[in-house]
Amino acid sequence: MDGLPLRQHSATAGLRPATLDVRNISRVFSAGSGSFHALQDVTLSVAPGEFLAIVGASGCGKSTLLRLIAGLDVPDRGDIRLDGKTIDGPSLDRGLIFQEPRLMPWLTVEQNIALALENAAVTRQERAQSIADHIALVGLRGFEHAYPRQLSGGMAQRAAIARGLVTRPEILLLDEPFGALDALTKVRLQAELQRVWLAEGITMVLVTHDVEEAVFLADRVVVMAPRPGRVSAIQKVALPRPRDRTSGAFVACKAAILAALGAT
């Protein structure tokens, strides 16, 4: 299935699909003796509905970039715009999934997802419906009243993804979301994430150190290099979905990216 499905926007979101523009972003951390250039003059653009992956070795700034997009951090130079508006702090327009599920241990799955809608201007009925829809979307139907301690790692992460999506954000940011999971669960959740992306048509930016994951999921893969953090290459993945991890084209793409990573 090629082509990018367009997002069905609800009345509470914008009516026009939004582009993410990262322009000349620099972020420097001062650490005791010297300064550490986490990001230097990074520019990239994410089209509406696109799935973008960012790969790179540790210290290349990929997580820093994601946090800047999420609004959890402020760039020292440059700006980031969503739909032409400079971002300033976190917003429900941009959802963020962390590597840990980070569910509140004292709330049920349902309550955890509802927390995201605390400030949403929706009626109680709409809220309940949306939560139920998203629980079904991530395949957690039946676990609405379970507590995080009763969930497996994979299930908890699904709940976190539902929480990230329930606010119907313009763009979903994922910071190594499957890094803490075992290989089997990881593969399963990658397929789930793709299914959700296809169903919702939401823009996704995924940071990962797993190149195979990037090639499996993304339309484009951004390769970043460290010291200073910068974009070193952008690889298009023009393979039709569902993708076969063993196909020649897939393997070739993966090799190209690994080469780009190794070259830095």
Binding site: P90, M104, W106, P148, T167
Partner: protein, 255 residues
């Protein structure tokens, strides 16, 4: 061999207490000490059943507990609020922290003369003293809990764009709850001790501590022992109940 070991521990354990009680009773019956002064186990038991039957023991314990609860009702919320504020505001902590720490160093009962001066020698003074005694454990535990609230969860609150108040109510305070529960546990223990102490040092009135002092004044050792046991039992119950509640809270979090 194995069967012998099974009853060994309880048997050894019972040895000393039984020996002591037996010696006590024998010495009392043999008149080795002034029976007018010293009670025997038998007289203690008689006094105990008397106070239980006429309801005075229950009445005294109840009066003390009411006082205790009144003090807790003031001290615990103030401790929660101050602890939260100190944890959330570094400026507040820099301003108030050291002063509170210094005040805390002053031995608890030192404040009795001052409190009785300002608030009188009766109930308000006693309750204020109890409230003061429970304030610090709650404040310290709350401060530690809020300060230590999982920063990862706090970050989630930011990404979900919760307001400061929502973040406090829905994320930070629930995350701090185990620590706060431990603080309240301590408050229950200290509060009971402060209640008894207040009954000794402020005016007389209904209460198990007062009853103890009255027994002493009348040289009724049997009554005093009954009161002692009552104080210990109530203290133990409070401790056990608080501990159980704490454990249940931790379990419900999967901790």
């Amino acid at each position: 061999m194995r069967r012998a070991v099974a009853w060994r521990t309880p048997a050894l354990g019972a040895l000393l207490p039984l020996a002591l009680i037996a010696t006590w009773q024998i010495a009392a019956s043999a008149g080795t000490f002034d029976v007018g002064l010293w009670a025997s186990p038998a007289t203690v038991l008689r006094a105990a059943s008397a106070t239980v039957r006429d309801g005075s023991l229950a009445g005294d314990v109840w009066a003390s507990l009411q006082r205790d609860v009144a003090g807790l009702a003031i001290g615990v919320p103030v401790g929660l609020i101050v602890g939260t504020l100190l944890a959330l505001s570094r400026l507040g902590d820099a301003l108030l922290g050291p002063s509170l720490s210094a005040v805390r160093q002053v031995a608890l009962f030192t404040w009795v003369p001052l409190i009785s001066l300002w608030l009188g020698n009766d109930e308000p003074g006693k309750i204020a003293f109890i409230a003061y005694a429970v304030f610090f454990p709650v404040m310290l535990a709350t401060q530690a809990g809020v300060r230590g609230a999982d920063p990862q969860l706090r970050e989630v609150a930011r990404t979900l764009c919760l307001t400061s108040w929502q973040s406090l109510r829905r994320v930070i305070l629930p995350a701090a709850l185990p620590s706060i529960a431990a603080g309240i546990h301590l408050a229950l223990v200290y509060g009971w001790l402060a209640t008894i102490g207040a009954e000794y040092l402020f005016s007389a009135g209904p209460g198990i501590g007062s009853a103890l002092m009255t027994g002493r004044a009348q040289f009724r050792m049997d009554q005093v022992i009954v009161g002692m046991v009552a104080i210990a039992v109530v203290g133990m119950l409070l401790n056990v109940l608080a501990g159980a509640a704490e454990r249940r809270l931790l379990q419900s979090r999967g901790l």
